[in-house]
Symmetry: C2
Subunit: 66 residues, 2 copies
DNA sequence: TCCGGATGTAAAATATACTTGACAAACCCT
DNA sequence: AGGGTTTGTCAAGTATATTTTACATCCGGA
């Protein structure tokens, strides 16, 4: 299932997937797969994404799986 | 750096590392390394640990790295 | 109409999370 | 003292997160 919260938070900051990828230190594809869901990122990566978007873990990554 | 919040939450539930490992579906060693810090677990594993301990991501995994 | 930016996706390679099996030290408890 | 449980750690293997390269599509603007 897609991670809509991440998508919304990124749009809210007017960042492209590439922008967020650069800010988080990963590739565009990795961000894309996380937003597309069915992907299992690392805690450190989640934290970097949170900081890049001024959000917390719960705000972006809580309960987007069954 | 150690993850003291995880250690505390586990003690609060009177669970051993083995207990938590079984509840989260991983090995005792993996739990041990997460508590010891300098380890980078997967988001799905973090979520399973949270549910096993009745905690949220922020409560257990927020900002225990520099 | 065409070009650039944004996104979806895929295969192969690399880095690393996680397992398995094992041994040792520390701590209760009796 | 001795046995059981808990925890720290290590080496080798397997699973998977992430990269790299690449091609295709969609869309807004010149």
């Amino acid at each position: 299932m897609k991670n809509l919260k991440l998508n919304a938070a990124r749009a809210e900051k007017d960042m492209s997937q590439s922008d967020l990828a650069a800010a988080a230190g990963v590739t565009r594809q990795t961000i894309g797969m996380i937003e597309a869901g069915d992907y299992n990122p690392t805690l450190n990566l989640c934290l970097r994404i949170c900081r890049a978007l001024d959000k917390t873990l719960d705000e972006l990554f809580w309960e987007e799986e069954s």
